[in-house]
């Protein structure tokens, strides 16, 4: 589908139990199919930041952003312009590589992709590779022929380039009753 492309959405949420549930539950209930979601605390302890990637047309994404904003625990939502954002994910890949020749090839590719070998056993290697999702896809394609035993990807974390940022000004944005 030509209109469906990947969108990156950043949400600053309250760092409280149940928030991830209410966000992911909303996606399910509203029939949004997300590609990945990552969460972690930010420099303000009471807040966390989620990066959500979704494939869809413009209308779907707009609706998703509105539904996200509607959740009480969601403080701010912004859409990142994919062309103007840094998006990274990490993958850990366990490869079956008992032969020396294969190992040498793998290490060569790891080097090209600026990955690291983070564990080795006589039978296996674990490789850590970080980058945009395309880079990771490309690396995984290469590794297929060697035999991927296990794979884990973190999902995308992203920030806008330059000075654009999601600002939470503690006083201004607080609703007082």
């Amino acid at each position: 589908m030509s209109l469906e492309r990947m969108h990156i959405i950043s949400a600053v949420v309250e760092n409280k139990p149940g928030v991830l549930y209410s966000v992911s539950n909303m996606f399910r209930r509203r029939n949004f199919n997300i590609d990945s979601i990552t969460v972690g605390p930010i420099n303000r302890g009471d807040l966390a930041r989620m990066t959500i990637t979704i494939r869809g047309d413009e209308k779907t994404v707009e609706q998703l952003v509105k539904q996200l904003k509607k959740l009480i625990e969601v403080v701010k939502v912004s859409r990142l312009d994919a062309a103007n954002a840094v998006a990274r994910e990490m993958a850990l890949i366990k490869i079956h590589a008992p032969e020396t020749k294969a190992r040498a090839d793998i290490l060569h590719y790891v080097d090209i992709f600026r990955g690291h070998v983070v564990d080795a056993s006589p039978e296996t290697l674990i490789i850590e590779v970080t980058g945009g999702p395309d880079k990771i896809d490309a690396f995984l394609d290469l590794m297929k022929s060697f035999g991927i035993k296990e794979l884990v990807r973190t999902g995308i974390a992203a920030l806008s380039r330059g000075s654009r940022s999601i600002n939470i000004k503690s006083d201004e944005d607080v609703m007082e009753v």
Binding site: N25, L47, K66, I72, V177
Partner: protein, 566 residues
């Protein structure tokens, strides 16, 4: 600051919110709260099923505009509330649900959250998609804040249900309570003021409009924007159609009133809205039952959409001028801008067209005037009961007949389950409405199938002296489904025949209520008059034909232009 138990703090906090009444059912995990209620003057009404406690709170809220409160114990008590909460969520009704929960921790017992304790249910998980907000209190000291937050969230912005889950130990624990602490909601700031640029754009469209139509939804009622709607309509001389949820927000005896649109909408409303060149939609979410097929709904009209919930803008219908705001403020703002620009034009071609179509459709609605047909019964009912009487409906044919044939003149006097379509809603909602407005006549227009679902609340109505009138349009059928089977399933009737069980007169009497069966229009009139004077709830059983259809009807997935008239 004062030291007290969580339960006591809850009751104090409710008082601070001006709570007068709670509908609920007691049980093990909520006993400390009930014990604290013992010393308070908040009235507790003992429902007979938690679903009805929630519906009663909902009916209460819709009748008087203040949040309704329902309460239940953990586990089955809480899960029984679910339908009522979902109903309130779909119709944006402000209710507060308080649920007991097993303890957060215990010293020697496994009566704690997460251990599958007796009567444990994850009500937070269960109600997340059907509440505006829910919250499990984890320590007693949080209670004043939690209650304040709940009432604030339930009643501001787009109203909706909020649930507070109260673990038993939190109810019992004592703490220093701070009732004046401010609450901070980082992620909740509903926009209520319309953007002036959008208002100006809307005003320009409306001033230039040749065939303007206003579509008013439940949001007009939520924001009490009745006067603003009336004034704007009269200034523009724009006919006003409503959604089912909007019924009552514009007087249906006003010359500009078209009645409601939709699957069983008023023919005049369904026809004329499609002729509009500018549509001003306010407080409506363009529900499927209102719009019919979207690709034929007002496709050439310029659309202005006022809603307080930004997520409703563009969700179902693309609009030209979105205005995120409180309906009252937005209508007032548009009025002000337009009033400077135009003078009322009296006799336009459009108004003549409106009048003509309305008259045509009126003729369609005339029928044999003596038989016990729903149309006649409901028109007669309108003549008997006072203008400010509150009508609730069940769901199905009774609801649609009521929408079509019972005209509503005053705001908040037509209470119906619009979004969720909950059979059994009308009767407990009527009880809630009567508690909110004890001096008004309250009538539940029911069907036999719906009434059976919550009929046990007759006990509540008698025991708590809440007397309402129930009119059962009794066709011994699940009539709406039977109608669909008749129209779309080649009369293959399955699972719709209820038979003449129970005998509703005897049933009412068994509960200590009054039961009357009527066989003629005269008897009906007499029964309603006697019921209005009765000290106990009266159930009026009106046998009607099982073959009676609700017409007109737009078949499912068809446009408003594809009306089956009959």
């Amino acid at each position: 600051m004062a030291k007290m138990s969580g339960a006591k703090a809850l009751v104090e906090s409710l008082k601070q919110q001006n709570a007068k009444v709670i509908f609920g059912i007691i049980g093990g995990a909520i006993m400390p709260v009930y014990d604290a209620l013992y010393d308070s003057d908040i009235r507790h009404i003992l429902s007979k099923h938690e679903q009805c406690a929630a519906h009663a709170a909902d009916g209460y809220a819709r009748a008087c505009g203040k949040p309704g409160i329902c309460m239940a114990t953990s586990g089955p008590g809480a899960t029984n509330l679910v339908t009522g909460i979902a109903n309130a969520y779909m119709d944006s009704s402000p209710i507060i649900a308080l649920t007991g929960q097993v303890s957060t921790h215990g010293n020697s017992s496994s009566y704690v959250i997460g251990k599958d304790a007796f009567q444990e249910a994850d009500i937070i998980g269960i109600t997340t998609p059907i509440t505006k907000f829910n919250y499990q209190v984890r320590s007693a000291a949080e209670i004043p804040k939690a209650v304040k937050m709940a009432f604030h969230i339930a009643t501001t912005g787009r109203p909706g249900p909020v649930l507070i889950d109260l673990p038993k130990n939190v109810q019992i624990d004592t703490a220093e309570m701070n009732f004046s602490e401010e609450i901070k909601l980082l992620g909740y700031k509903p926009v209520t003021d319309p953007h002036p640029v959008q208002v100006k754009k809307a005003a320009e469209l409306l001033v230039k409009a040749e065939r303007p139509v206003i579509l008013a939804g439940g949001g007009v009622t939520s924001s009490n924007a009745f006067q603003e709607l009336l004034e704007l309509a009269e200034l523009l001389l724009a006919p006003v159609a409503t959604t089912l949820m909007g019924k009552g927000c514009f007087p249906e005896n006003h010359p500009l009133s078209l009645g409601h649109i939709g699957m069983h909408g008023n023919p005049a409303a369904n026809k004329l809205i499609l002729e509009a060149d500018v549509l001003l939609a306010v407080g409506t979410r363009f529900a499927d039952r209102s719009t019919g097929r979207l690709d034929t709904f007002c496709k050439d009209a310029k659309k202005i959409h006022i809603d307080i919930d930004p997520a409703e803008i563009g969700k179902n219908v693309d609009v030209d001028v979105p205005i995120v705001a409180d309906a009252k403020k937005a209508l007032r703002a548009i009025y002000t801008v337009i009033a400077e620009k135009i003078k009322k034009k009296e006799d336009s071609t459009w108004l003549r067209r409106v009048k003509e179509i309305k008259e045509q459709c009126l003729n369609n609605a005339s029928a044999n005037s003596t038989s016990l047909r729903p149309q006649i019964l409901l028109k007669t009912l309108r003549q008997i009961i006072p203008e400010d009487a509150i009508v609730t409906t069940e769901v199905g044919q009774n609801q649609m007949w009521a929408a079509l044939h019972y005209k509503v003149f005053k705001p908040r006097t037509y209470i119906t389950s619009g979004g969720l379509g909950t059979m059994g809603f009308g009767f407990p909602a009527a009880l809630g409405a009567k508690v909110a407005c004890p001096d008004r006549v309250v009538v539940d227009i029911a069907g036999d199938g719906s009434f059976i679902m919550t009929e046990q609340e007759l006990a509540c109505s008698v025991e708590e002296n809440i007397s309402v009138v129930v009119i059962i349009l009794n066709n011994s059928m699940l009539g709406m489904v039977a109608q669909w089977q008749r129209l779309f399933y080649n009369r293959r009737y399955i699972a719709v025949k209820l038979g003449c069980v129970p005998d509703f007169v005897k049933l009412a009497e068994a509960y200590g209520a009054q039961g009357i069966r009527v066989g003629s229009l005269e008897e009906f009139t007499r029964a309603v008059k006697s019921a209005m004077k009765s000290d106990v709830t009266t159930v009026i059983d009106v046998p009607i034909s099982p073959e009676e259809d609700v017409l007109p009807m737009i078949p499912p997935d068809r446009g408003l232009n594809e009306m089956i008239v009959g």
